[in-house]
């Protein structure tokens, strides 16, 4: 289907594409963190992927790089779809995982990136309002990380419900 779009992307940014595949019929390109913004802008403006369907992440604990941020795109004109994945490192004791925001390209990324931040602790640099979204501010840890035990308890929070 949209194999042509994937080819176009690979041709345009040969250095940025780490790998690509079309397993299960889902065209996928893995791009480097540094070139994410350029690739996404190219996909939106030149190839025509105007709908950012979803932004999410996955934690491959024990693998390097540990995280992957996953974007699903759709072109409203052609109906083609494309998955973009960005591997994101997290160093032990070092800076936390960080990747550039795409919320300036697609405003819909705003909440979805907030969710990825909330659930995985991945920072989206340049995000206008990077707060937790599903969890509360006082929540300790990032629940969808593989090393966050499912049974983990959280301290009881006495919340000040004054407006904020």
């Amino acid at each position: 289907m949209s194999k042509a779009d994937l080819d176009k992307l690979v041709a345009q940014y040969p250095a940025a594409i780490v790998s690509s595949h079309s397993n299960f019929g889902d065209d996928t390109a893995v791009v480097t963190k540094e070139s994410l913004k350029d690739v996404m802008r190219f996909l939106r403006d030149t190839v025509g992927f105007d709908l950012l369907v979803s932004v999410t992440a996955a934690d491959y604990f024990g693998r390097e790089p540990r995280f992957e941020v996953v974007y699903h795109l759709r072109s409203m004109a052609t109906g083609n779809r494309l998955r973009i994945k960005v591997p994101v490192h997290e160093e032990e004791g070092g800076p936390s995982a960080e990747v550039a925001t795409v919320s300036d390209l697609w405003p819909t990324a705003n909440w979805q990136e907030r969710e990825a931040y909330d659930m995985f602790g991945i920072k989206f640099s340049g995000h206008p309002d990077l707060r937790r979204i599903l969890m509360y501010e006082e929540f300790v840890g990032h629940p969808l990380r593989k090393d966050y035990p499912k049974e983990q308890r959280q301290p009881l929070i006495r919340r000040d419900y004054s407006l904020s």
């Binding site: 690509s20 397993n23 024990g62």
Partner: protein, 602 residues
């Protein structure tokens, strides 16, 4: 698949199961168990070119050693062949006929586990003929198998279930009644047999014969009446009897200790090392709901191969029972102590320790051989700081008394402390032993004593008698896992985490530094020995921000670096403990995985 998310969980399990922290000593060290493997064959050393031959495996050219077991070659090259009676640690009798494969040129299918490979052999493992036979063999095995899964202890980690689901998965065609055999037969102190479930693979017989060296099990009767049994007047009571439960591919042999306590698939597995003796068998700790339910051996060809002793399997009970779970401080000398928080007890200990240092007098430090290297390393750092401050410090290595009667040439060692080698190295050359400690106590040479682990080579009764010796001390700090008479005499009684509750390493008798992993949370207020030492040292201004205080891993790294710095490069781990340390590696971190999702042990 260009970019598949590989299976992080499964591969990590596989790696965990095969992991040795430090490289093994050369094969000169005596093999851990007399086994069927040909003597002197080191698995790691590649055979010379002349010994290799090439066979065609499912159309693929594969190189392997001439005469190697065909089934092993298949498994090594990722070709899945079903089998029951074969076990990598045992001889192959080819009784189950489940591993039949096609060798081109041979009229009948051959059992892969009994076929040595020869040059230019052509083997097919997935032709319709092979698959049909494989299915028929399973159908045959299942004809008389009882519908027991819901009440069977092995369900969820059963090889028969696994092979059926992988290769047969066709419904029953039989309507005749099943043959009934005795259920619930008591074979020995640890084992119960259900003959109906037995598929007659004879693995258990071979475990007794070849691993334990005691011929206690045998087959009786013939045909569909055939049964496993013990010889009349005998019992299945060898010290390795529970290995029969592990190798049993079905639920015929079950462990009295474990049966009906937990469903196997609910358990989580964490790889660790048995704390039972100086052999340091590699184990998997199976735990759920914050409790350990059993220990099973983990493959390590350099240490324990696939086995462990029965006594070691019960080492988990020490983690559960008779634990010291809260800190106490008091006036010592057996007067009632007061329960307090660990932080307060630590502060109290630090303050008294500082006072003792400034007033002068000898301080004894006890390095227990049941404590991890990291905690002992931290203690040695503290000792150096104390000496630097002008205190006179004496080190002692202590541990439980040796039990010569348990030693054999298989796995069991007379030294029942898992970390004697490490404790001796870390305590330093001048360290005394437990005898010296008792002598010094009797002579009143010590003013203070700090015990990291209160294990002494005494029975509990004797401990009652010697406990008053501690009354001459101005300060006795005890970090202990279990309650004991000596502990009751201490001024500061700190609850320490047991071996399964900490990250760290033990050094076994072969100088291999092996990794323990935290499986469950410490009971009550207990904290790791390393944490307690760190906290006391910090409070007593004996340490500031050294790396070893951060985590067990950091302590390990610093310890290895320091030990290695004293050694010439390329030292042989077989020759000295220090070289074993220098070659050690912390290994990777794994998340505990539930057995049901870990490609069942079956």
């Amino acid at each position: 698949m260009a970019e598949s998310p590989s299976s992080p969980i499964k591969s990590s399990i596989a790696a965990a199961l095969r992991e040795t922290v430090s490289p093994p000593p050369p094969p000169a060290a005596s093999p851990a168990a007399p086994s069927a493997a040909p003597a002197g064959s080191a698995p790691s050393s590649a055979p010379p070119q002349s010994e290799l031959c090439t066979i065609k495996l499912d159309g693929r050219e594969v190189q392997a050693k001439k005469g190697a077991n065909l089934l092993e070659v298949c498994l090594a090259h990722g070709v899945d062949v079903s089998y029951f009676c074969y076990h990598p640690g045992l001889s192959s009798p080819a009784v189950c006929r489940q591993c039949l494969v096609e060798v081109v040129g041979q009229p009948k299918l051959v059992p892969a586990c009994f076929t040595p490979i020869a040059d230019k052999m052509e083997v097919n493992t997935a032709t319709p003929r092979v698959l049909t036979i494989r299915r028929q063999m399973l159908e045959f095995t299942l004809v008389n198998h009882p519908v027991d899964c819901p009440i069977c202890d092995k369900a969820g980690e059963c090889t028969l279930q696994k092979q059926y689901q992988d290769w047969d998965h066709v419904g029953s065609r039989s309507s005749i009644p099943k043959v009934h055999k005795p259920k619930m037969q008591d074979l020995g102190p640890h084992i119960v047999l259900d003959s109906e479930r037995c598929i007659l693979c004879t693995r258990c017989i071979r475990v007794c014969d070849e691993v334990a060296g005691q011929k206690q099990l045998t087959m009786a009767w013939r045909g569909d009446r055939e049964q496993l049994t013990v010889a009349p007047g005998h019992q299945l009571d060898n010290p390795y009897s529970l290995n029969t439960v592990d190798v049993c591919p079905v639920g015929a042999l079950t462990s009295k200790d474990f049966r009906f306590t937990m469903r196997a698939w609910e358990l989580f597995t964490t790889s660790s090392v048995c704390p039972g003796c100086a052999t340091g068998c590699n184990v998997e700790v199976h735990h759920a709901q914050g409790e350990i339910w059993r220990l099973v051996p983990r493959e390590n060809l350099q240490v324990n191969k696939y086995w462990m002793c029965d006594e070691g399997r019960f080492a988990y009970k020490d983690v559960r029972h008779k634990r010291l779970t809260s800190a106490r401080i008091g006036a010592g000398r057996g007067q009632p102590a007061q329960i307090t928080s660990v932080d307060k007890a630590v502060a109290f200990a630090a303050e008294r320790l500082e006072r003792l240092v400034s007033s002068g007098g000898t301080i004894g430090l006890v390095y227990s051989a049941q404590t991890t290297n990291e905690a002992l390393f931290a203690l040695s750092q503290v000792a150096a700081k104390l000496t630097a401050r002008g205190a006179s410090v004496r080190a002692y290595v202590s541990g439980a008394a040796p039990r010569p009667e348990r030693a054999d040439n298989i796995l069991r060692s007379a030294d029942v402390n898992p970390n004697t080698a490490g404790a001796k190295l870390l305590a330093g050359v001048g360290a005394g032993d437990a005898k010296a400690l008792l002598a010094d106590l009797t002579a009143g040479k010590l003013k203070g004593l700090w015990m990291v682990g209160t294990d002494l080579p005494l029975g509990e009764q004797a401990e009652f008698e010697i406990a008053p010796l501690a009354d001459g001390l101005e300060l006795l700090i005890c970090q202990a896992v279990h309650d004991s008479p000596l502990l009751r005499r201490a001024h500061v009684q700190l609850p320490a985490a047991a071996w399964a509750e900490v990250d760290g390493t033990f050094t076994n008798a072969k100088h291999m530094v092996q990794r323990l992993r935290k499986a469950v949370a410490p009971q009550g207020d207990a904290r790791a020995h390393l944490e307690l030492v760190t906290q006391i040292a910090k409070k007593a201004n004996l340490a500031q921000n050294e790396k070893w205080q951060v985590s067990a891993r950091q302590a390990f790294l610093q310890m290895v670096a320091e030990v290695a710095s004293t050694l010439p490069p390329g030292a042989d781990p077989a020759q000295s403990v220090a070289a074993g340390f220098a070659a050690a590696d912390w290994g990777k971190e794994f998340l505990p995985v539930q057995l049901r999702f870990a490609n069942s042990r079956g």
